[in-house]
């Protein structure tokens, strides 16, 4: 649970630069729907991959502990 919260927080913080850099991105966010959709899909895929990798890490750790 703690790891998931850490993961979620890290993920949210990674988006901050795009928002806070006094960049036209904020305006574009409101105007360019296609790009938002592409971005969102990409991020969902990426998040899926990261969750999968962390789960794999957990499984491997369990196996390692079992055969120690």
């Amino acid at each position: 649970m703690k790891k998931n919260i850490l993961l979620g927080t890290a993920f949210l913080f990674s988006m901050v630069p795009a928002m806070a850099n006094n960049h036209p991105a904020v305006n574009l966010l409101l105007s360019n729907n296609k790009l938002i959709a592409v971005n969102a899909i990409l991020l969902i895929i990426l998040l899926g991959i990261f969750i999968f990798l962390f789960n794999q890490d957990k499984r491997i750790k369990k196996l390692e502990d079992r055969i120690k």
């Binding site: 993961l7 993920f11 913080f13 990674s14 630069p17 960049h23 991105a25 991020l43 990426l46 055969i67």
Partner: protein, 228 residues
């Protein structure tokens, strides 16, 4: 020391941060709108770092192959072969993203006259031979010895194909090759750098992460088979 790093989480969290940043800001960052390249220049955050990642992983494979030849510790062989597997995967992804970029900018998925494309394909073939060589041995010790020696040759050939031959060619469509100026000299501005460098670290990180999992799984298998 190295084994400890495989089990730590900080670099995995860092990888997540860097790749998320790349995938978000990479699409919004202000780019130099160059003719022909236009918006496709954003592929710089994916295509080029994937090759960097491949180079890093193949270098790790080389280091562990050398380590095996010095110590004959079979664990080093596990490390070397699994780094090569993920490095090869990164190379395939690099080729695929490059093909998409080529279609957009040069009008074809593959330009046969382009020396860097052919050299990249040849470099992947060199590593394909590494995997074929590995699978052709039954004896684990022989497999490890021969593949460690071949790995040295493969890495040298890989670097020659990727970094030397394209620069010696008289003409190339790739920037920085065949007498063309590289990205560095005119169009890799600071906006692009802001995403490009984190992207390199992020893609290297995810390659390392995948390798670490494969290595750990194979070490478990070896323990179950009672090899160690």
């Amino acid at each position: 020391m190295f084994e400890k790093i495989l089990y730590q989480s900080w670099w995995k969290v860092l990888t997540i941060l860097l790749l998320s940043f790349t995938c978000v800001y990479g699409f919004w960052v202000k780019i130099p709108l160059l003719p022909i390249l236009e918006e496709s220049i954003r592929n710089l955050f994916f295509h080029v770092p994937m090759w960097f990642s491949m180079m890093f992983l193949m270098l790790m494979s080389l280091i562990f192959s050398l380590k095996y030849l010095v110590s004959f510790d079979s664990k080093s062989d596990v490390y070397a072969s699994n780094f090569a597997v993920v490095g090869f995967l990164m190379g395939c992804l690099g080729i695929l993203t490059g093909m998409v970029w080529a279609k957009v900018t040069w009008g074809a998925w593959w330009v046969f006259a382009e020396v860097k494309l052919n050299a990249a394909a040849a470099a992947l073939l060199v590593y394909s031979a590494y995997f074929i060589l590995r699978s052709s041995f039954v004896d684990a010790e022989l497999k490890a010895k021969f593949s460690a020696v071949y790995s040295i040759f493969a890495f040298v050939m890989f670097m020659v194909f990727i970094n030397v031959i394209p620069r010696l060619a008289t003409s190339s469509l790739h920037p920085g090759n065949g007498g063309n100026p590289g990205f560095n000299s005119y169009d890799l501005d600071n906006h692009l750098r802001l995403v490009f460098y984190p992207a390199i670290l992020g893609w290297i990180g995810i390659g390392f992460w995948l390798s670490s999992q494969l290595i750990r799984i194979n070490l478990i298998k070896r323990k179950i088979d009672d090899i160690d």
